[in-house]
Symmetry: C2
DNA sequence: GGTCATGTAACATTGTCTGTTACAATGCAT
DNA sequence: ATGCATTGTAACAGACAATGTTACATGACC
């Protein structure tokens, strides 16, 4: 499968921000990038998606940075998923199948049903976990 | 997300083979490719994966081709998934996160748990549908 | 005004998926 | 045994997406 890490990065960012709220420093893309171990622009792109969905807010100017727009308990992984992830788990044919064949004609709508039911299951599963849950699990891992 | 079509192609192939069993012709990669509308080698690669998992069998020599190793009612989409799909729906960080940060240290094992639970949900969902179900739905789409 | 970080564009790099060509291996038919 | 159609696989080209990087205009506080 894709091995797309946007979901992972976004959860990492939000979890980091949840933990960092206790400090008095400002959450900048640069500092977050230090934890994720990537370029700050990658983090800004991610935060931009999260802001469009209303999960974070940005401040500009001097002392600028990012803050959570909601409590970690109120942010589910489903919202993160909807914010940063594109299509579903499986893709359709690259080029349209042969419509003169019964299977080629009917396979796409048939799979559409199967795939969207599956997508619904994924969403339900993601809705059960919040960023606060992840933070708790993350801290439980410490040495 | 990935937009990986291997799953779609594999289901298409197996569904086509289920329908084609009624004819007296031999199922060759060339004929299947005609329905999927792609190159025969792509189909052979897919069939190779399906064979490794025991879902189809191949015959060589003259009059060679492919046959289902099991009844369409006994092949679930989960088995197809396990045969052709690689990793799970989400990937981890491209480069390892900063282990000196508590979040960077604990995020991977924490997400591993979340992701594998999700993967389990997907598998359960896929196990509910068989190739015979798909064939029925495909034929119901006809003009 | 100086400064710092956001916001975004542009581009390079990398990796994966798909498609294509080529060809050896296989085994039935004649 | 020879021919033939197809599998099985390697090798490569092309397309595309994700990621990383550089650069710079924009905004707002000091």
């Amino acid at each position: 499968m894709s091995a797309n890490s946007r979901m992972t990065i976004a959860i990492h960012v939000l979890t980091w921000m949840s933990l960092d709220r206790q400090n008095n420093e400002v959450a900048t893309s640069e500092r977050i990038a230090g934890s994720v171990n990537t370029n700050a622009v990658v983090i800004r792109r991610c935060l931009g998606d999260l802001r469009k969905s209303g999960l974070v807010q940005s401040k500009r100017g001097a002392g600028a940075g990012w803050v959570l727009a909601r409590e970690p308990e109120d942010i589910t992984l489903l919202e993160v998923y909807l914010a940063v992830e594109g299509g579903g788990p499986f893709g359709m044919h690259h080029t349209p199948p042969n419509a003169d064949c019964p299977v080629g004609f009917g396979i796409r709508p048939a799979l559409q049903v199967v795939y969207s039911e599956l997508e619904e299951e994924i969403r339900k599963g993601l809705a059960r976990t919040t960023i606060a849950d992840v933070l708790r699990d993350v801290l439980a891992q410490q040495r």
